[in-house]
Amino acid sequence: MTLETVARAAGEVVARDVPFVPGPIGTHITIRSLTKYFAGTPLYENFDLNFPKAVIVSIFGPNGCGKSTLINMIAGLTPIDDGQILFDGKSLRDTKIGYVFQNYREALFPWLRTVDNIGYPLKLAGETPGEVARRVEELVASFEVKFDLRRYPYELSGGQQQTASIMRALAPRPEVLFLDEPFSALDFEMTLFIREKLQDVFMRTGTTMILVSHDLEEAVYLADRILLLTKRPTRIADIVPFEAPRPRTTATLSDPLFIRTKARTLEIFQREVRK
């Protein structure tokens, strides 16, 4: 999945202007020759990566390596200096994405009731109020929401607000769901709840998910692959698979495979930090 593998598969050295090299079958997002400079120094330079479809990838790496910048560039929130990012061969413009921010307080719109926040992306897409209401009902049922959605976001607890943000991100049935440290502002109880809900959604819909995390256990627990990044200029340190069956539960946390994967991930991480 690294630049080298892609190049080897194509039997040539990949340079900036060579024709686009597609990823292997089952690839969802292809990143080619991605380049991003910050204040004159490279953060990403000729960065290549494939994200497989219907898979949860966790991104983990040292502080400042640009984990969030990477997903922000893929989601079109941070402009890129050079390169190409395609979703099933389409551009971002033709792709439905969902994005969950770490800071739910500043991600939801406090002037809209929670139910209207959740329905907002559907309204943007031109759906009728009836269609919007039906979809929100579906989400309420699947998330087993017990709080009053007629309330404003600031009247809800942090966990309830983040649940609402996730519902909003999922409302348009996105092809890719980006999650930027979605649990780091939540208490442990709420983290467990939302983790289960995300896994639930994933098992039912197979939505490709990309999760940025600064918590190793969390990064491993939900993921099918853990993408480990190096210090800047950022490259791929390794991609560690974690193939424990789903649904994963708290029992997974003491499963030997989980512990082995976590240890291996930690080892690579520490190697990269010390470099």
Binding site: A75, G76, L77, K96, I97, G98, Y99, F101, N103, E106, A107, L108, F109, P110, W111, Y120, P121, L124, A125, Y152, Y154, R168, P172, F178
Partner: protein, 259 residues
């Protein structure tokens, strides 16, 4: 027992804001009674409040009060109608704002009263003149606050709308305008205070026949201090009430503010 103590503490707490004004009136009364200040310069609080009440209950003071209210609201309405949309527009295009920023800051910093003679040349000694200069004083404060409200919109809310596929116009309509509401209300509140200040000054010096400013300066000329103090108090009450009104309005419109 415990509950009633708590209730009594609460009731006392409610009365605390009255303590300051009460102390002021007592001190004022003492000063007058012991003749520390000549009664020609300072009437007793009871006499002043009496003049205030009879004046406001259908006396001449009420008429002047209403003229000042009318002019202030006219000036404010013009300033708000120009300042809010223009501020939001300029704020959503930061490059344009930067190009006029100096002008806005310069005239915002210029005391509007310094422009009264200029406005006299343009509008003459008319009612329009008073309203125009007060509107001018208020419009820049309002514009400035609305513009900064848009420019300081929470980046993440804009990003959230963008990632959901909102167009530039939809981001403007669904996020930027809402984000600017709270600072806009700050601007409106400062603007209405500014308008009142300038209206009262204009009523004093631009050959006025009515209004609180006119009443204050007229009473001063003939040393009718009771009437003068009553008019000053009326102006103070007006300013205070306008401020409270806008705070309440802000609280009900921008219900999410500070939460």
């Amino acid at each position: 027992m415990h509950d009633s103590t708590a209730a009594r503490t609460l009731a006392l707490g409610r009365l605390l804001p009255l303590l300051g004004p009460l102390a002021l009136f007592v001190a004022w009364d003492i000063v007058v009674r012991v003749h520390w200040v000549s009664p020609v310069l300072l009437p007793s609080p009871a006499a002043t409040l009496g003049a205030l009440f009879t004046g406001m209950a259908g006396g001449a003071l009420l008429g002047d009060f209403l003229y000042t209210v009318l002019r202030t609201l006219e000036a404010f309405a013009i300033a708000a109608a120009l300042g809010v949309p223009l501020g939001i527009l300029l704020g959503s295009n930061e490059r344009t704002y930067r190009s006029v920023e100096f002008l806005i800051d310069f005239f915002r910093s210029t005391p509007s009263s310094a422009l009264i003679p200029l406005f006299l040349l343009i509008f003459g000694v008319t009612d329009i003149n008073k309203v125009a200069i007060a509107a001018f004083a208020a419009v820049l404060v309002i514009l400035f606050n609305s513009a900064y409200g848009v420019m300081n919109a929470r980046k993440q809310r804009v990003m959230a709308a963008k990632v959901m596929g909102a167009s530039r116009w939809q981001i403007f309509r669904d996020v930027l305008i809402w984000e600017s509401l709270q600072p806009t209300f700050v601007g409106l509140r400062s603007g209405v205070s500014m308008a009142l200040v300038i209206v009262v000054v204009a009523e004093m010096f631009i050959g006025s026949e009515n209004g609180l400013g006119h009443r204050i300066i007229d009473a001063q000329q003939v040393l009718n201090v009771k009437s003068m103090y009553a008019a000053i108090l009326a102006a103070g009450i007006l300013g205070y009430l306008l401020n409270v009104l806008f705070l309440l309005l802000e609280k009900s419109v921008v219900h999410w503010s500070g939460r």
